[in-house]
């Protein structure tokens, strides 16, 4: 169980760190094309910022920022973005996950459409990984008690 410790240093440092971590997580997702990074890595960093919040404050505080249902919906949304892009490719007349057909809806040529497609699925992966990591952590750390019953 995670319980609350009043500690000015930890709270201040994490208050400063969390936005920076989240910004870095977004950068890692968005810049996965040109440098080491991508959806999984960025999603894990984003999740780490939430976990830091839980450790520095407590689960209640973290939950007030992101409720459990929202988190579950985000898990689904991430996978759905990935699968939706795949199905969109099928609807546009290509094979499953063949991003080059996306040039029919995006103002770019087929090769660049692949670039955009990769970016789209990385966002989906990032959302899914972040939400799932947070969800697994919260469930295991709190023993799965219902919302409001956590300490």
């Amino acid at each position: 169980m995670v319980s609350r410790y009043e500690n000015v240093i930890i709270e201040t440092v994490s208050r400063l760190l969390i936005p920076a971590m989240q910004l870095f997580g977004l950068y890692v997702i968005a810049h996965g094309h040109g440098s080491p990074g991508g959806g999984f890595q960025g999603g894990c960093i984003l999740a780490a910022s939430f976990i830091l919040m839980v450790i520095a404050y407590d689960i209640k505080e973290a939950k007030s920022r992101m409720s459990e249902n929202l988190n579950t919906i985000l898990c689904c949304a991430g996978v759905f973005i990935y699968g939706g892009i795949g199905l969109l490719c099928v609807i546009l007349g290509g094979n499953f996950l063949d991003y080059s057909v996306l040039h029919k809806v995006l103002p770019v040529d087929p090769v660049k459409a692949r670039y955009m497609g990769i970016f789209g699925v990385e966002i989906g992966v990032g959302i899914a990984v972040m939400a799932v990591m947070v969800s697994i952590f919260l469930n295991i750390a709190s023993g799965g008690e219902h919302e409001g019953a956590m300490k």
Binding site: R114, V132, S135
Partner: protein, 91 residues
């Protein structure tokens, strides 16, 4: 139990070492993994996907179906943790 475990490990370890004899050396640039499928990923990645990071390109495009499966795996794990650990309102 300990004895069976030790025996199983001996067999597996022996099999692994036996197989290692025919494996390519560490870092051999001409080994099959480095010469059969992967060169295309390196040489054509820019012209085919406009993405300089080959790992991202292979992950999300050439083998995007794998990554799709992988996202589903982690989604499954998240849902499973939710289902198994949530105590019912009566528990």
């Amino acid at each position: 139990m300990k004895f069976i475990a030790f025996f199983a490990i001996l067999i597996t370890g022996f099999l692994l070492i036996y197989a290692t004899v025919d494996m390519p050396d560490w870092g051999d640039p001409n080994s099959p993994p480095n010469s059969h499928v992967s060169p295309r990923f390196i040489e054509k990645v820019i012209q085919e996907t406009a993405t300089p990071n080959m790992v991202t390109a292979v992950l999300a495009d050439y083998r995007g179906y794998d990554t799709f499966g992988e996202t589903v795996v982690i989604f499954t794990a998240g849902i499973i943790c939710l289902m198994l650990l949530r105590r019912g309102s009566d528990g």
